[in-house]
Symmetry: C2
Subunit: 245 residues, 2 copies
DNA sequence: TACACTATCAGAGTCAGACTGTCAAGAATT
DNA sequence: AATTCTTGACAGTCTGACTCTGATAGTGTA
C-alpha cells in the first residue's frame, strides 16, 4: 500500500477545500460540486471518502486539531500546579483556533449548531478543554487553591465561552483590527478569572496566623506563594536579607 | 381590515411551530412541510408570509425578543451607575434566553452560524448587549471606575460569551440539572468579572507598598487585609497608630 | 340575492442539489 | 500480461424548497 501518501493528500485536498468553503458560506449553501471544483477531485470520489456532506463537515475538526494538542495531552499530567494545568489546556484550545483563525471559529459554530455534534461532543479539543478544566477547578476547590463556594461549571463556562466568543466575533464588525492576538490576551484573562476564585486573602490570613510564629517565616511563605505583586516581594526579600545580616 | 387578528394569529402559529421544530432539528433537517403540518397552515400560506425558509428562521428572534427588553432600553439611560447599567443589560440578555430556554439558545446558535446573521447582527437584544456593554466599560474606564488598562473588548467577550456558553450547553451532557437558574448566577458572575477590573485593588497595592516598613507590619497588614478598600485603610491607620504607641 | 374581493389551501409542477450506480480508463501489483 | 484498485465522467434517482393555478369559503357591498 504505497499509495497511502497519494490517498492522504487527496483526502486532505478535499478537506482543505471544504474547510474554506464551509467557512465562507453556510453549510447548506456550500455544495459538493463546488467543493469538487475547488479541490479538483470528482464528486464521486468525495463520496468515496466521506459518505455524506455532513460527514465531511464532521471530519474537519480532526483536521483542524493540530498535533500540538496531543503534545499538550501528554504533558498535562506532569503539571502539578492546578492553575498551570488550566493555563496549558486553555492555551492548547486557543492555539487550535488561532492556527486556522480564518476558518475554524466559523466552521466550529456550524458544527455546534448541529444536533449531532451537540450530542456527541465530538471534538477532541473541546472534550479536552471541557473535561480537563472541570477537573482542574474541582481539584483546586478540593485542595484549597480556590474558594469552596466557587461554581465549577460557571468558571468553566467563563473560560471556554470567552475564548469561543472572541474567536467567533474576531472578524466581525465592531471588533477592531488589533495588534494583540488572542494568545496574548490569555494570561490577563486567566488571571482576572482566577483572582476572583482564589481563596480570599483573609482566609489565607487565618492560616498564616495559625502556622506562623514570626515575620521571617511569613516573608518566606509569601515569596513562595507569590501572592503579592512583584514590587512588594522584592521589598520583603530585601528586608529579610538585611535582617539576617 | 378587521381580520388583522386572524392574520396575526396565523403568522404566530407558523412561527411557534417553526421555533419548536428548528430547535429539535437542524435548520436543514427541518422541512417546510413539517412546519406546515405542525402549525396546521398550508405550505403556500407559509410562503405567503415568509418568502423563504431562511426568512422564517430570521423572523424568530423578533418573536423571541420579549417586551421587557423594550422596558430595559427605556430604563437604561436613567441608571447613572455604570455597573448598574451593565447589570441591567446583562439581565435583559439573560432573560431573553431564559424566557424560552428550551428553544432560544439552540435556535440562536443556528442563527449565529448563518453568515447573513453574522453580517447584519440582526437581533435587537444582541445589538443592545454588544454596543451597550462596550459603552459602559469605556465610560467606566474614562471615569475611573475601571482600570485604565482594562481591555473593553475582552471584558465584553467575557460577559456575553459566558452567558451564551451557559445557555448553549445548559441542556447538554456533562451539565447537571441545577437548582440555580442562570439569572441566579448572574450577580456572582458579574461581581467576579468587575472585581477584576475595578481600580481599587491596584491602588491598594500601591498604598501598602508605600506604607510598609518591615516584615512585622506586613504580617499585620496581611491579617487585616480584607479585599474591601474602605475598611482596609481604616484598619491600617488604626494599626499604625497602635504601633507608634 | 348577486357580485367582488381577500385569505387560504390543495395539488401539480419546476428545479437545484445530495446521493447512487455503472462503466471505462488508468495506475499499481502480481 | 493479468488482475486488482483507484478515479472520474455521466446518467439517473429522490428529496425538499419554491412557484403557479385554480378552487373554496368568508366577508363586505350594491
Amino acid at each position: 500500500m504505497a499509495d497511502h501518501v497519494k490517498t492522504k493528500s487527496r483526502k486532505d485536498r478535499i478537506m482543505e477545500a471544504a474547510l474554506r468553503i464551509f467557512a465562507e458560506k453556510t453549510f447548506q449553501d456550500a455544495t459538493i460540486s463546488e467543493i469538487s471544483k475547488e479541490s479538483g477531485v470528482s464528486e464521486a470520489t468525495i463520496y468515496e471518502y466521506f459518505g455524506t456532506k455532513e460527514d465531511l463537515l464532521f471530519a474537519i475538526p480532526e483536521k483542524i486539531t493540530t498535533d500540538n494538542l496531543k503534545d499538550y495531552q501528554l504533558v498535562l499530567p506532569f503539571i502539578k500546579d492546578v492553575e498551570g494545568r488550566m493555563r496549558a489546556i486553555l492555551l492548547s484550545y486557543v492555539q487550535l483556533y488561532q492556527s486556522n483563525s480564518h476558518y475554524s471559529a466559523l466552521v466550529l459554530l456550524q458544527l455546534m449548531s448541529n444536533k449531532r455534534f451537540r450530542q456527541t461532543d465530538a471534538h477532541a479539543a473541546i472534550r479536552l478543554a471541557a473535561h480537563g478544566l472541570l477537573d482542574c477547578i474541582r481539584e483546586g476547590i478540593a485542595n484549597g487553591t480556590f474558594r469552596k463556594d466557587a461554581d465549577a461549571y460557571l468558571i468553566r463556562s467563563i473560560l471556554m465561552g470567552t475564548i469561543e466568543h472572541l474567536f467567533i466575533h474576531w472578524h466581525m464588525q465592531g471588533m477592531p483590527k488589533r495588534e494583540k492576538t488572542i494568545v496574548d490576551m490569555l494570561d490577563p484573562f486567566l488571571e482576572l478569572v482566577l483572582s476572583g476564585i482564589r481563596t480570599k486573602r483573609d482566609e489565607q490570613g487565618l492560616t498564616l496566623n495559625l502556622k506562623l510564629e514570626d515575620a521571617n517565616a511569613l516573608a518566606q511563605l509569601l515569596r513562595l506563594n507569590e501572592i503579592l505583586p512583584e514590587s512588594l516581594k522584592q521589598k520583603v526579600n530585601g528586608r529579610k536579607k538585611s535582617n539576617k545580616q
